[in-house]
């Protein structure tokens, strides 16, 4: 068996990106996994309760100056786990604090050293003043768990510029634990709410009584297709980390989810770096805050059972059409809120199953918005039948390969998409021990009804009512 060899070189700006990636990943876990494959490098972290997973995918030909990886005979990848603390001391913030510019680094070399008994990841930082800083980090051989996410069932989706998202996130108290994202698409609003779940029981009822609602017009979103009344809760700390990194990258954040109790995927990409987060969502147990009444209409966007992410690019024009019909708002207004082509195109690349490597970064914006009927969609790659609901949440790398060998596209990004998007996430939908209700909820959703929480909600009057109800119209009208 030959040992795998791994050697790559990073520019100072890439090194800084690694630093920022590690900061983000370290918010999820104390140990960070590194996976090297041909043409791709993945840094990932999974939190201790296995409810949140973050992965940074680095396209090596864009992100690295040089990249050499040759696998060992028995596997096509190298996987290991390192301490986040140790990694962060290597890839620390180096640019802002250096008084003397000459101490800045000029190049960063990373190498896998597997000679003799001592196996190390060696990082050599070459500085402008001739100093060489060498780190040799111990690592742990592991099988990395990847979160899987079924995009087919994730019908709710929105895309938002990272700077806006950051702006909204700044309103939330650092002490709050949860963030609820709810949609009132019929009223053209989406609401982010921070709250602390614990406060409803026990003596600490009034310890964290602050709920912060940020209600925004869905016109601020690049795209917003969430059914009316869908409301999911995620960990605020996780989501803050996600938003922090996105704001640094200045890119478009895309979230996909379905119903509470099933995972949410947040993704964004820039310059050969793609960040994908899979976050478990929970039902917002506090109180039912319905935005549309029981008889209200569905959201403007008809929930389409999408089969493959390739439809992404068609989504926007379709939605515009609907908007034109329903709200009478001139389509130009909608287009004005569209971000410039740079960020748009990079974000758009996330969901193209075609090799992103070959996708020009300067994907023309008009192409994005040109109307093409759905019927004329390019043929979609066949989707494997979703495994039973009880499928495990995390699959070992090898298992993934076996599962969809037949229809896998023979390119990397196809692989990645498949891996991330083709399998049903295995969290039980029977949330809070009420299987029937959960199932019912899903069914209702599929039939296009709204306000699942309304009926499902088990609020029985014991909960503390928020002192302020969300305004029907937001501040930014």
């Amino acid at each position: 068996m030959s040992n795998p060899t791994l050697h790559f070189t990073l520019s100072p700006s890439s090194t800084q990106r690694i630093h920022e990636s590690l900061i983000t990943l370290s918010k999820f876990s104390e140990s960070i996994s590194l996976e090297a494959r041909r043409g791709i490098l993945i840094l990932s972290a999974l939190n201790s309760t296995k409810t949140a997973s973050a992965a940074i995918h680095l396209t090596t030909n864009r992100f690295c100056i040089t990249y050499n990886f040759s696998s060992s005979t028995d596997t096509d990848r190298f996987q290991c786990r390192l301490s986040a603390r140790a990694l962060l001391s290597v890839f620390r913030q180096r640019f802002l604090d250096s008084r003397d510019k000459s101490t800045a680094i000029s190049k960063c070399e990373v190498q896998l050293e597997q000679q003799g008994p001592e196996n190390r990841i060696a990082v050599r930082l070459l500085c402008n003043h001739g100093v060489v800083k060498t780190y040799k980090l111990t690592y742990e051989d592991v099988e990395i768990l990847h979160a899987v996410f079924n995009r087919d069932t994730a019908t709710a989706r929105w895309r938002l510029g990272s700077s806006l998202l950051k702006e909204y996130m700044e309103h939330f108290s650092a002490k709050a634990e949860k963030l609820a994202i709810s949609s009132a698409a019929s009223e053209g609003r989406a609401t982010f709410t921070s709250f602390t779940e614990k406060l409803v029981d026990g003596k600490d009822t009034l310890k964290q009584p602050l709920h912060t609602n940020v209600s925004l017009d869905i016109g601020n979103f690049e795209e917003f297709s969430v059914d009316d009344g869908v409301r999911v809760g995620v960990s605020l700390k996780d989501f803050t980390a996600v938003a922090w990194f996105a704001a640094i990258l200045e890119t478009m954040v895309e979230a996909r989810y379905s119903v509470p109790g099933r995972a949410m995927q947040v993704a964004y990409a820039k310059d050969g770096l793609e960040a994908v987060y899979t976050l478990m969502t929970a039902q917002d147990n506090r109180i039912s805050q319905s935005f549309g009444g029981p008889g209200s209409q569905m959201g403007r966007v008809v929930a389409v059972q999408r089969r493959e992410p390739v439809e992404t690019r068609e989504e926007t024009p379709r939605r515009e059409m609907i908007e034109r019909q329903e709200s009478g708002r001139p389509p130009t207004e909608r287009l004005e809120s569209v971000k410039p082509s740079g960020s748009e195109s990079t974000a758009g690349t996330i969901h193209q199953p075609t090799p992103r490597r070959e996708t020009p970064a300067s994907l023309a914006p008009q192409q994005n918005f040109s109307y093409r009927p759905t019927q004329q969609l390019p043929p979609m790659p066949p989707t494997p039948p979703p495994p039973p609901q009880t499928a495990p949440l995390f699959l070992y790398g090898e298992d993934e390969d076996e599962m969809d060998d037949s229809d896998r596209e023979h390119n990397l990004f196809g692989e990645m998409d498949q891996e991330r998007g083709s399998f049903t996430l295995g969290w039980d939908t029977t949330y809070a021990g009420n299987a029937e209700k959960g199932e019912k909820a899903v069914n209702k959703k599929k039939r296009g009804r709204n306000t699942v929480e309304d009926e499902d909600d088990d609020s029985d009057g014991d909960f503390v009512m928020p002192t302020q109800q969300p305004r029907p119209k937001g501040l930014f009208d």
Partner: protein
């Protein structure tokens, strides 16, 4: 209460009248500094322990701070740094030669008193923005006000009179009997290594190794591997015969190891093969502020493992000047520094005792 500071505002009263008011027959020590900021900058470097020992002699002040008996920091403040410096040795029975006066005081409180002066950065909001345009404001002139020290011998407090613009502050700092501080001896005749480099480089290296891998840092010399430095081919090895070894700083712990290898741009003036000693990292970090402020650093280690880090701090705080270079204020500050005394240089010396290496 160790200090007593009062601040009075009187635009018409000038400094000289305040000085006249004080009844002083013949104090043991008086010194006036018109550049309190540099004094502050230098003393701040020693602020890792609150108690400092001050020795007065004819040449200036020697301020010593020690940590755990294995680390000492010393600042040499020459009398030239003061506009006036008068030391009248007391007639004592144990007449030492040369005569010195030693007392201890709380360094952190002395620093707090010196901090009363206007900060280096002009405040935008003061006087409705008028001061930021006034070329005679202390912040622009970077004069830093004047500080007058008076000491009357054992038992008496240290009087500190600070004047800036029309503000006069008088402070009275309790002094303590000096403790016996034995200097950590560096054997100059048995030097294992002597290296001179930019202080910023050493600072960068120490910050690099400040990574929680472990609490010891090892200094060592490694036989040179000249061909392994292709990044600097322009710099030929200076030694004619055997090339000088590489100077390394190393930390190692269970999570991994980190090495900072200085290239050929530092000057290794003296070395003996196989030099290798380890030091407690938290003690080395005591010198961190000095590293950040100084322009040059000299690293010396003897055969017993005593390490001396010497730092040269130039003018109005080398760090400040570097940071401001290019800006309008920066150039004015430099001019001011040149108009005053030429190159007000202070030296700081940090000594460390090596720790046993577990190997």
């Amino acid at each position: 209460m160790p200090s007593n500071a009062t601040r009075e505002r009187n635009a018409t009263e000038n400094i000289s009248t305040v000085i006249q008011d004080e009844p002083e027959p013949q104090p043991v020590f008086t010194a006036t500094s018109s550049n309190a900021r540099q004094l502050y900058n230098v003393l701040k470097c020693l602020n890792f322990q609150s108690k400092a020992q001050i020795e007065i002699n004819h040449d200036g002040l020697i301020v010593t701070v020690e940590d755990s008996r294995v680390m000492q920091g010393t600042a040499f403040i020459e009398s030239a740094l003061f506009t006036s410096f008068v030391y009248n040795p007391r007639p004592t029975s144990e007449a030492s030669d040369p005569p010195t006066e030693t007392f201890a005081l709380s360094l952190s409180i002395l620093l707090e008193c010196l901090q009363i002066f206007t900060p280096a950065e002009p405040r935008q909001f003061s006087n409705g923005g008028q001061t930021s345009n006034n070329v005679f404001s202390p912040a622009i002139l970077r004069s830093g006000g004047t500080a007058k020290f008076t000491y009357n011998g054992p038992g008496s407090p240290l009087f500190l009179t600070l004047a800036e613009g029309g503000d006069v502050t008088t402070c009275e700092l309790t002094t303590y009997e000096p403790e016996m501080i034995l200097p950590i001896p560096l054997r100059m005749e048995e030097l294992g290594v002597k290296v001179i480099m930019k202080a910023a480089w050493l600072h960068d290296a120490i910050r690099e190794l400040d990574n929680n891998l472990t609490d010891t840092v090892t200094l060592l010399l490694r036989p040179s591997s000249v061909p392994s430095h292709p990044s600097h081919p322009s710099h030929p090895p200076s030694a004619p015969s055997a090339p000088a070894p590489d100077f390394l700083l190393l930390t190692s712990g269970p999570l991994g190891s980190a090495t900072v290898e200085f290239g050929k741009q530092i000057q290794i003036l003296h070395y003996t093969e196989g030099y290798r000693f380890s030091y407690a990292f938290h003690l080395i970090k005591n010198a961190g502020r000095a590293m950040g402020l100084a322009t040059k650093a000299s690293v010396r280690g003897d055969s017993q493992g005593v390490l001396s880090l010497q730092f040269m701090i130039e003018g109005d705080g080398g760090g400040d000047r570097d940071r401001d270079r290019g800006g309008v204020r920066g150039t004015m500050g430099e001019e001011q520094g040149n108009m005053g005394k030429k190159m007000e240089t202070s030296f700081l010396d940090f000594r460390f005792v090596a720790v046993e290496e577990e190997e």
